[in-house]
């Protein structure tokens, strides 16, 4: 059985903890990577991943299996990320300039420790707007259908196909520029 079916079966039997255990082991990577793309901070993404699963656990009564678990978790993650970014934005307006300088130094140190591919991947993702980036990851990495992505992002299938194509087009241009040495 697929994890999705296992989870639904266990939930039906009232074995909530077992269902949550399978859910966490199968979707931890998905939730964390989604949080990372939105928050761009590992610690925040880790905290948010924890928060997502607690929220999912507390909201199991709402989950009726109408949508896929992955779609449901994506919706929770996205909502919590947008809330966190909103809070951060409001808080950020009050941070002193000196503090910002310390943060920027920390970031540059952490970049040194990143592998070449990690750095490259993050750069690639950073050139894409949110919708194109999410569509690219959900389609290319998570291998979801346009129908599933449409449910997650609330965008039409035609719009998603255009987003995916534009993302690939931008990445292609970015790679060409990189090869020509215009970008490091």
């Amino acid at each position: 059985m697929k994890p999705e079916q296992d989870i639904l079966y266990l939930l039906e039997k009232g074995k909530t903890h077992e269902a949550m255990s399978i859910m966490m082991s199968n979707y931890k990577r998905f939730v964390h990577s989604t949080a990372m793309r939105y928050l761009k901070d590992d610690d925040d993404a880790k905290d948010l991943t924890q928060e997502v699963f607690i929220k999912a656990y507390n909201s199991l009564d709402y989950f009726r299996g109408d949508s896929k678990i992955q779609t449901w978790l994506y919706a929770i993650t996205r909502n919590l990320c947008l809330n966190a970014l909103d809070k951060k934005k409001r808080k950020g307006n009050m941070i002193h300039l000196d503090t910002l300088e310390v943060f920027s130094n920390e970031k540059s140190d952490s970049l040194v420790n990143e592998s070449e591919f990690t750095h490259f991947f993050k750069q690639c993702m950073s050139i894409l707007p949110e919708k194109q980036r999410e569509t690219f990851i959900l389609r290319h990495v998570e291998e979801l259908s346009y129908e599933e992505i449409s449910e997650m992002l609330g965008t039409s299938i035609g719009g998603l196909k255009a987003n995916y194509y534009q993302a690939v087009q931008k990445l292609s241009l970015y790679l060409s520029s990189k090869k020509e040495g215009n970008i490091q």
């Binding site: 931890k28 690639c124 990851i137 990445l171």
Partner: protein, 184 residues
């Protein structure tokens, strides 16, 4: 969108092997004749070669590895009653209370009626349908005496079998009546 643009938009899914057979045919026909499309195909293929799905997943797994998701047992899920249910529950409770109230009122009315009940006597079609006990009742005696006697005579005339106890009661009654008259 012209045909060339449409086919170019299909290229990312064609490269990843996620196109339908009909679309694969269209793309391959176009690729065989258009050098521009072939060039685009190669450019986009480089994107997917640089950003391999397996590498991205490996990276995401590494990042998510250190995420410890713990669902605290104490944070046992709350019993959530959806807002719509709150209204429904209240309505059901109100209906139940109303029903119980109406029932109590009805039963008390029935009791009151019982207390003041005036015995009604249904007339039997033939005299032998009356039991001796009924005939001994004062109510019966007074209300249907004439009718009983009429029916009794008619039953005897028509040769119907009469209940012996009933016959005895009526005979005693008639004898009693005639002796009373003699005394008078």
């Amino acid at each position: 969108m012209n045909n060339h643009e449409y086919i170019e938009q299909l290229l990312p899914d064609y490269i990843n092997g996620t196109l339908s057979e009909a679309d694969i045919y269209i793309v391959e026909q176009a690729l065989a004749t258009s050098k521009d499309l072939q060039q685009k195909h190669d450019e986009y293929a480089q994107v997917f070669s640089a950003l391999k799905k397996e590498d991205i997943i490996q990276l995401m797994n590494q990042e998510a590895e250190s995420v410890d998701v713990i669902i605290p047992l104490k944070a046992k899920k709350k019993m959530v009653i959806p807002k719509i249910m709150i209204g429904t529950t209240t309505s059901i409770a109100a209906c139940l209370l109303l029903w119980v109230g109406i029932n109590n009122q009805i039963s008390s009315n029935v009791q009151n009626v019982d207390v003041k009940k005036i015995p009604t006597i249904e007339l039997a079609e033939t005299i032998d349908e009356y039991t001796p006990l009924e005939l001994q009742s004062e109510d019966v005696e007074e209300v249907i005496l004439d009718e009983i006697l009429t029916l009794y005579v008619s039953d005897i005339e028509s040769g119907k079998e009469i209940n012996p106890l009933l016959e005895k009661e009526i005979t005693d009654y008639l004898l009693q009546e005639s002796s009373d008259e003699e005394i008078l």
